[in-house]
Symmetry: C2
Subunit: 315 residues, 2 copies
């Protein structure tokens, strides 16, 4: 891509050709799918309906934040509450690949229903180049695990439209600026939501714990870089682990779960370094998590592994 304005013109023209009738847009709240959605609505107006799914796996206050972001971007959208369907699909599943597959399938079945209602077979997604490159290079000939790519099962009636398919992240940011989309105030959040930050079984109870832990990590890391105590990291989050260990609550022994805190520096997400935040920041994070989840989480761990050999997210 050489010029963002030129890319926008060409993408809008291509989208007009690709959408003779109507289309549904999978709007995740991230920069990629928001840019794809704005491009589609520029091309065909309200014949492209953007849908944001509340899958019950979102961060604290996420729906309100996404609404504000869409409003500021000028996107027309609808929100669907589908938490029950996702928890049902995830019942009893611990394998990370199987979790992603079921989340992807549930999204697709929801969008198929939405497409039927709206009278279309086109689904617009914000897939970008690293999504399909990291997933194996081709859409249908490997086992897909990346959320944007893995969703469409072979038997789906939907046809994917991916206007940002050849762009890299910095190019998408340039396109977003050209479209008048404001810089999102929060860091990117993976499609499967907190499910990938709940190692082991995904239940409403465990998602709630992961939600509290992630809120604490975000608040404390953001406070630390706002006050200059550390540089702004690439990504920062918490993962709930299905381990049991002993803790002390008053005069009693309790068994609780553990939370792993991940804060990484990176320039492109292909490699990453575990950040070394000030000990006081980690201490506050550990104290708040074990207090706000008293008796449920007794241990907080800081992930000191680079990528490679680890990845940034756990699942």
């Amino acid at each position: 891509m050489t010029d963002p304005a030129q890319f926008v013109d060409e993408a809008v023209a291509r989208l007009r050709a690709a959408i003779p009738g109507r289309a549904i847009i999978a709007a995740s709240g991230g920069i990629d799918s928001t840019a794809a959605a704005i491009l589609a609505q520029r091309a065909v107006g309200d014949r492209a309906r953007a849908i944001f799914v509340d899958n019950g796996l979102l961060r604290d206050g996420e729906v309100a934040r996404v609404r504000a972001f869409f409003d500021a971007s000028g996107l027309h959208y609808e929100v669907r509450d589908a938490a029950d369907r996702f928890f049902e699909a995830l019942d009893g599943i611990v394998d990370p690949e199987e979790k992603r597959r079921r989340i992807g399938m549930t999204f697709i079945r929801l969008f198929e229903t939405e497409a039927d209602r709206f009278g279309t077979d086109r689904l617009i997604q914000g897939t970008i180049a690293p999504d399909w490159i990291e997933s194996g290079g081709s859409l249908r000939d490997t086992i897909k695990t990346h959320h944007n790519v893995g969703g469409i099962p072979l038997d789906s009636r939907l046809t994917l439209v991916e206007p940002l398919r050849d762009l890299y992240k910095d190019e998408v940011r340039a396109v977003a600026r050209a479209l008048g989309i404001p810089e999102p105030e929060r860091q990117p959040f993976p499609g499967p939501g907190l499910a990938v930050r709940v190692n082991g079984l995904v239940t409403p109870e465990r998602v709630r714990r992961a939600r509290v832990a992630n809120r604490v990590v975000e608040e404390e890391v953001e406070r630390a870089f706002r006050t200059g105590a550390m540089p702004r990291p690439w990504q920062y989050f918490a993962v709930l682990l299905p381990t049991r260990s002993v803790g002390v609550l008053g005069d009693n022994r309790v068994h609780g779960e553990a939370v792993s805190v991940r804060i990484v520096e990176s320039s492109d997400a292909m490699t990453a370094t575990a950040a070394a935040p000030p000990p006081a920041v980690l201490k506050t994070i550990a104290e708040r998590i074990t207090r706000e989840l008293s008796g449920e989480v007794v241990r907080v761990l800081y992930d000191i592994t680079d990528k490679p050999p680890a990845t940034i997210e756990w699942e």
Copy 2:
């Protein structure tokens, strides 16, 4: 206890009275049971037989280190290899209390057999005051979990003899010095061995991983405090976690387990603070563990929780 030399004289006299015939000594290699063993052999000589059990759950090089420590302390002892019996007892067990119970039971059944062979019903243990205080205050009326206390089942034929029962740790150290026992070169190691550092299933394979990780943590922390990079901590070790997360090995994705590293400052083990080692020390630990257990462990976490709300060990 006012004077160590006086305590030794009185303890030897009490042990002579308590052991009219023969006795078996449960010698763990720690300072407590070694002091109890030396007192018993001063009292009745080789009518007290010290037995060290290799339960397959020991650290790297532990048997050789314990032998050297016993030799330097002037203890007469025998070593029994019982790894198979312990792994059989732990097969399929993940609950920490149940692990400890089964390890304790296996120890006791072994010592019953040894006692039968040696012709006695007396078992000498190195129990000290914090062992039974932390376990509930009385030997038989609560569910016991501390190794030294929990071992004896109600149906055992053995009678416990505990010469250090009323002493605290610093008093035991004074008694050990009075007995000519050298300062042990390694930090104290819990009775159930690496089993409490293998969260989840205890298999020979997983114990091997925990053994490698613990060796790395010990070597790097000891190097760091020898070179003045950090003060000598109270305790430092690694715990293998039964979590699966994604890693990168060459061009492939792998799923591996995680290791949690614990380094704490404390003066009495009743409370403890997570140490803040130099980032370079943690980085080296993470690199070595993921390299020496390549493809098996993809993630290393540093435990940042104080006691309370966590405990020092996980189980």
